[in-house]
């Protein structure tokens, strides 16, 4: 089998990447199909909704024809797939804009939020877990475990409300909980779509302060609620590794404690990578509540609006983008996973 031979000869990283990329295509197809079918089940006739009260049956029929709603499901799917491949997700009747533009417009808001949130969540989670394993039985350990429990039990929307109430309404420390930036300020020119980064590019210190300030409460909300899970997971992985014979052996060899922690952490990395990617994917959907409370104007709110409006096309577009995002995140995580763990062979 010469192809197989050729394949084996390629560098490991290249093989990992190729396999992952090849998997994405059928997965995306599946996602498109399932999303398409599920969304067909939604009630509400978009034509009637768009045309409003003064629509005659005739004009509704005309509109349905324009949207292709009169054709059978598989034809509709074929048309849709063709459009998607040409980068056309349709036009939302509720923003009068191409959906792809709407999504591109809102994605940075959500991404900025959840990326910062994941960084803090994972960072804090690992920090707490490592310290509590290394100082087993200390008050810190006890507190960390209590936090690990409690955090998972707190609804994020409730935390958000409490933070708003205490830090904004009562104490006035936090900035206003609506939007990504002070309404009076002009947003910096869009480069990445991340306001904090764009503001830095533009050298607009005030815009940066405002954008970063607005991130504090939502990021804190997500961090408080989710870091507990990271702590719990890291704790169990890290403490198992901490008890592993090789750690005892390193100690027996007189390797300094700090190096041992580093080595043990390096060994805990694969599950941490998985869990981080999982949280990143999960937040895309779960941040909806936080987005709503903070009027964030991101993808989540867009999707909620799409459901409320029976905006099929927009919802479908969101599902595709969200799934693509999650697939990419998971794929990157898998690739990293395979890179950091030399035991996996591809």
């Amino acid at each position: 089998m010469p192809i197989r031979e050729f394949w084996r000869r390629q560098p490991r990283l290249l093989r990992i990447l190729a396999v992952r990329l090849a998997l994405i295509v059928p997965q995306m197809f599946g996602v498109t199909l399932v999303a398409f079918l599920l969304i067909r089940l939604l009630p509400g006739d978009p034509a009637r909704l768009i045309l409003g009260n003064f629509a005659t049956d005739e004009s509704i029929a005309l509109y349905r024809q324009k949207l292709g709603l009169d054709k059978d499901v598989w034809t509709q799917f074929a048309i849709y797939l063709d459009n998607v491949l040409h980068g056309d997700l349709g036009t939302s009747p509720f923003t009068s804009k191409p959906i792809i533009e709407d999504l591109a417009d809102r994605a940075p808001a959500t991404l900025e939020l959840i990326l910062y949130a994941v960084i803090f969540t994972v960072g804090l989670g690992i920090l707490i877990a490592v310290v509590s394993v290394v100082r087993r039985g200390s008050a810190f350990d006890w507190g960390a475990r209590a936090y690990g429990f409690a955090a998972g039990a707190i609804p994020d929307f409730w935390v958000a409300l409490l933070l708003v109430f205490f830090l904004y309404t009562v104490l006035g420390w936090a900035p206003a909980p609506f939007g990504r930036m002070d309404l009076m300020l002009a947003p910096p020119p869009r480069i990445t779509g991340f306001l904090t980064i764009d503001a830095l590019f533009a050298g607009d210190w005030e815009a940066f302060r405002s954008a970063a300030g607005r991130l504090i409460l939502p990021v804190a909300t997500i961090t408080i609620v989710n870091a507990g899970a990271v702590t719990k997971m890291t704790h169990s992985v890290f403490s198992e590794i901490w008890d592993a014979p090789f750690v005892a052996h390193m100690r027996a060899c007189g390797v300094p404690e700090r190096q041992i922690i580093r080595a043990a952490l390096r060994n805990s990395l694969p599950p941490i990578i998985s869990v981080s990617s999982f949280i990143l994917g999960f937040l895309l959907g779960a941040a909806v509540l936080v987005e709503t409370i903070f009027s964030w104007g991101g993808l989540g709110q867009y999707a909620v609006q799409a459901v409320i409006n029976s905006d099929y096309a927009a919802l479908q577009g969101f599902v595709l983008v969200a799934s693509a995002f999650i697939l990419i995140v998971y794929s990157i995580a898998d690739i990293l996973y395979e890179i950091v763990d030399p035991r996996i062979r591809t």
Partner: protein, 547 residues
């Protein structure tokens, strides 16, 4: 080999260690002198490992020194100041543990792992730059007998064999240039040939560097070969401390005598079976089993075209080291694996391509005793259910009949009837083996595969199991395939022997012929790797005397 009169490097004075309950080490007094190799022997649970950890000051969680003290060159180790303490572990006393693969960081290159230790102890000469550390690590690897150390230094532990990993661990222990080595069952689980090489190298290096070695083992053969003095441990106490030569001649303690006798036991070889004209019950032709491994272009040739047959009532031993494909062959025979190629004929019927449902009725005639007794018994089920399950293959039975049969089976393997109501987790390893055997014999099969029935057992338990199997076999007139690497059990059970290596059968023949005049080099190596207690003594009569 007389004891050196110098002051001891390490001395234990009344050392008592407990985990809250009864002490695990109970008033141990021991002196390790400069440049001596000191053996500590004992069965599982004697407290040997705890002894090593205690000396290192690294007891398992919950463990506490309750009395006594440990002296390094006359000074108690708990009185060492901080820099001295930091130097102590790895720098003055180093540990070589069991199961080397688990002792290595799985995601770090082995060269770097040795490097970590070098850096920690500022060896060599306090230079910690990347290059000199690496050079030193490679030199150490060469010193412990690793070929092509430059390349191996970049390998990850999972890419190494067990023996190689063990050598890395030894290199790590030597990296800190300690004065004392604690070798805790360092070669357990390695194949005999590898074990011999590793031990040889370890002892050689230690002698060269003038180290004191505490060699902890359960194998008297090892002690006999490498040690100057020894201590016998039992239940946390030292029952005897003696010069090795004196011990071999005149063990003072009763327990020591038992141990020595069991180790010396060298059973008589089975005579060849009288051949008759009955057709073989199992006939295997060109059995092949290849596994595809992701990431590797070549399949693993676990079994690579082997042929053998077993006559009714005959026992064939399949001998070889781990990875030789013995177990895979046995599983193919019982259709637990689908062999890639070759034919298997049982009792005149070709069962190679039989569907599971069609084959199931035949299972009552061919059974298997699994290697690891514990993992082969469903932990959630009671012994009674485990033994009753195969009975369904025979014929429908009433509950009472089934109960009677279970009781019979338990009696047959010398187990108490009360065992029926407990779960496997509560049994000892020996009892679990017996349940496994009873289960295999429940349907009164005509052919049984015994997969390593004696591994991981202490020497005295091992002897009991062998006796049991031998008794059952003769009373039931069983044909058996006996898979093992334990040559002693082969001697006592097998009519014929097939030597397997890398998936192939190198030679097969009658037991006596193989043991006394092996044709293949590999077979000779295998036989030579046994570390017999009495190999170099001049008492020829001992063989068979204890049977």
């Amino acid at each position: 080999m007389s004891a050196s009169p110098e002051a001891p490097v390490i001395a234990l004075e009344g050392l008592t260690v407990g985990f809250g309950g009864a002490p695990v080490l109970d008033g141990i007094d021991l002196e390790l002198r400069p440049r001596e190799i000191f053996g500590v022997v004992g069965e599982t649970g004697a407290g040997k490992s705890v002894l090593a950890r205690a000396i290192l000051g690294q007891l398992p969680p919950g463990g506490r020194i309750e009395a006594g003290r440990i002296l390094l060159e006359g000074r108690p180790i708990d009185a060492l100041d901080a820099p001295q303490a930091a130097r102590y572990r790895g720098g003055r006393v180093a540990l070589i543990g069991t199961n080397a693969k688990a002792l290595l960081d799985p995601v770090a290159r082995v060269g770097d792992q040795i490097g970590r230790v070098l850096r920690a102890h500022g060896k060599p000469d306090g230079r910690t730059d990347r290059r000199s550390v690496r050079d030193r690590a490679v030199a150490l690897m060469r010193e412990v007998g690793i070929n092509d150390p430059e390349r191996r230094a970049r390998a990850y532990p999972h890419e190494l064999s067990g023996g190689m990993a063990q050598r890395i661990v030894i290199a790590m222990a030597l990296a800190g240039e300690p004065e004392v080595l604690l070798a805790d069952d360092a070669t357990l689980g390695l194949d005999a040939t590898v074990q011999a090489q590793v031990l040889e190298r370890l002892v050689e290096r230690s002698r060269e560097r003038g180290l004191s070695v505490l060699l902890i083992t359960h194998d008297l053969g090892i002690v006999r070969h490498y040690c100057d003095r020894l201590a016998v441990m039992r239940g946390g106490r030292l029952v005897e401390v003696s010069e090795v030569s004196r011990f071999m001649a005149h063990p003072a303690d009763g327990y020591s005598r038992d141990l020595l006798a069991a180790a010396r036991a060298r059973p008589a070889l089975q005579p060849p079976r009288k051949s008759d004209d009955r057709p073989p019950i199992v006939d295997v032709r060109d059995l092949t089993m290849h596994f595809q491994v992701p990431g590797s272009p070549q399949p693993i040739r676990a079994v690579d075209g082997i042929s053998f047959s077993v006559a009714p009532g005959e026992t064939l031993a399949l001998v070889g080291e781990s990875g030789s494909g013995k177990t895979t062959a046995g599983q193919c025979l019982l259709r637990l694996l689908d062999n890639t190629d070759g034919r298997i004929v049982f009792d005149g019927r070709d069962i190679t391509d039989m569907k599971e449902a069609a084959f199931r009725p035949l299972r009552r005639h061919m059974q298997m005793v699994f290697q690891e007794p514990y993992v082969a018994l469903n932990p959630r089920r009671r012994v009674r259910d485990l033994l009753a399950e195969p009975l369904a293959l025979v014929e429908p039975m009433t509950g009472a009949e089934r109960g009677r049969r279970v009781a019979e089976l338990l009696a047959a393997v010398n187990l108490d009837a009360a065992v029926a109501d407990i779960r496997p987790g509560e049994l000892t390893a020996g009892e679990q083996k017996r349940v496994g055997i009873a289960r295999a014999l429940a349907t009164k099969p005509r052919f049984v595969v015994f997969d390593e029935p004696t591994t991981a057992l202490d020497i005295r338990v091992r002897a009991q199991i062998i006796d049991l199997i031998r008794g059952l076999q003769s009373s039931m007139n069983l044909a058996a395939l006996f898979i093992t690497h334990d040559l002693n059990s082969v001697r006592s059970l097998a009519h014929r022997v097939a030597v397997m290596h890398l998936g192939k059968i190198l030679e097969q023949g009658e037991t006596r012929a193989i043991f006394e005049s092996p044709r293949e080099d590999y077979t000779r190596k295998l036989l030579a790797a046994e570390l017999p207690i009495d190999a170099e003594t001049s008492e020829p009569a001992s063989a068979g005397s204890a049977a």
